[in-house]
Amino acid sequence: MAFELQGVGLTHGNGFRALQRISIRLGRGERAAVIGPSGAGKTSLIRLLGVATRPSEGRLNILGRNPWQLPAGELRRLRARIGTIHQAPPIPPRLRVITAILAGRLGQWPAWKALLSLLYPVDIAGAQATLARFDLADRLFDRCDRLSGGQLQRIGIARVFYQEPDLILADEPVSALDPALADAALGELVAESERRGASLFASLHAVDLALKWFPRIVGLRAGEVAFDLPTAEVSNGLLHELYAAEGSVLPTQASAPAALRHGGATAEAMAESGDGTLAANVVRLDTCRGR
């Protein structure tokens, strides 16, 4: 079993109830996507599972352990087995790509090895092999502030691949990528999970990507599980109900034809921005408003 939540709730310090009555179980090697409107609690859920936030109530079991009852040393070893891909990659801009990727194993390396690796990278080949899966092998020794937002997001994924965790958590891992790259990156995530038997739990904004790549979908709305079903059983009606607050159109990956349909300005933005990040957002907002 990868994780099991029973009646879990999370109330923030300011009294806001981010999550309530959450009960989800993910088997070992299983893959599931969590979708839902913004503010539904997707990030809070990922943080709970990543042992970065303590739940206010309920039972939590991650990789067979109850993290908040572990002593510090065992908690650290448990955390090293969980890899979280963040929406905004938490990588200092001055770091070189190779250092950013090797940082994935800091939870396993002793301190002397971590320090030594800053003088001379201890595993150039390993980092390069990981990067090659994202077509970025030639950027190995560049500084991260020379990369585009989309490239940096893929470095963030590569770091977690290099960590080789038993549980991969992803918080909107492809939000800065254009449709083609987003699709490829999710494919790599799924392939990595299959190859190593690692469990994968990802939050996604684009419904079409979730339906395409994941066998199981968890719908989250206002901090509660709206549905938790095999993908084949997720109906259009359920999806529209989930996103009722955001308008009549479901959020999906913006595709080039869609951009053209929405007029010249959008198409120009798409052409200008390197990965189509900006354009993707423009289109998504437009469709959500039902123009």
Binding site: L78, A80, P90, R94, G107, A114
Partner: protein, 280 residues
Amino acid sequence: MNTDTDARPYAARDPDTRARLGWTLLALVLLWPLLLLAEFRPWALFEANNLQVMGAFLAGFLPPATSTEFLGLLLKATLETLAIATAGIALALLIAIPLAILCTRALAVSLIGPGPGRLGGSALRAAGRALLTFLRAIPEIVWALMLVRVFGLGPAAGVLALAVTYGGMLGKVYTEIFESTDTRPTRSLLAAGAGRFAALTYGLLPNAAQELTSYTVYRWECAVRASVIMGFVGAGGLGQLMDQSMKMLNGGEAATILLVFLLLVVLADALSATLRRALA
């Protein structure tokens, strides 16, 4: 603009206005008695007889002394001052770096969650901060006066006095620089099981190195000036030389010494700029 705001029933009004006005007024109300207490009378500077007195004092500084014998003494004293300041800062770093790593909340694993050991952690941080406060609360001149009695006249007392006080200052500011830079990279590394030193070197230092360097070089510059003051109480260097010149009413020598100070500050500035460029 006007018609626009009128048209909306809920006109956008900055809700912070009242608080800002209140704080400004409070600051002024507090400042006034403080200025009175400090006998703040800048116009005294410009009274005729005061100007005359200051003019006579400054005239004694000209021309700067340039005799070979004095310049030789000056060179030796300058090197001694540089040595005191540099050795003092180096020892201060030995105090400041471990204490900053101990005290900063940015590297506190137990705060994530919060997890196990948070009580012990916050107690340790409080103890570390108290130690830093104690070290820097006592002025270096007092440490120097005390240490001169142990080590006798000479630079050793100055070096140790600097190390203690500046260790306290550097440690406090390092702690706060760590907390005010982007702590997300550090947090995410700690949350993935990384240790304290790994999180520091891979997550925190890449973002904080420039600011740490600039503050450290600035403190080195302050140490040069502080070592001069301590020279007045017998801790060697330019200060001791300055003390002798002033006692002998030799303004020319004092002027040359002041020029050397200026040069050292310019040097520190150039060093800081070079290091910051290298770390950019």
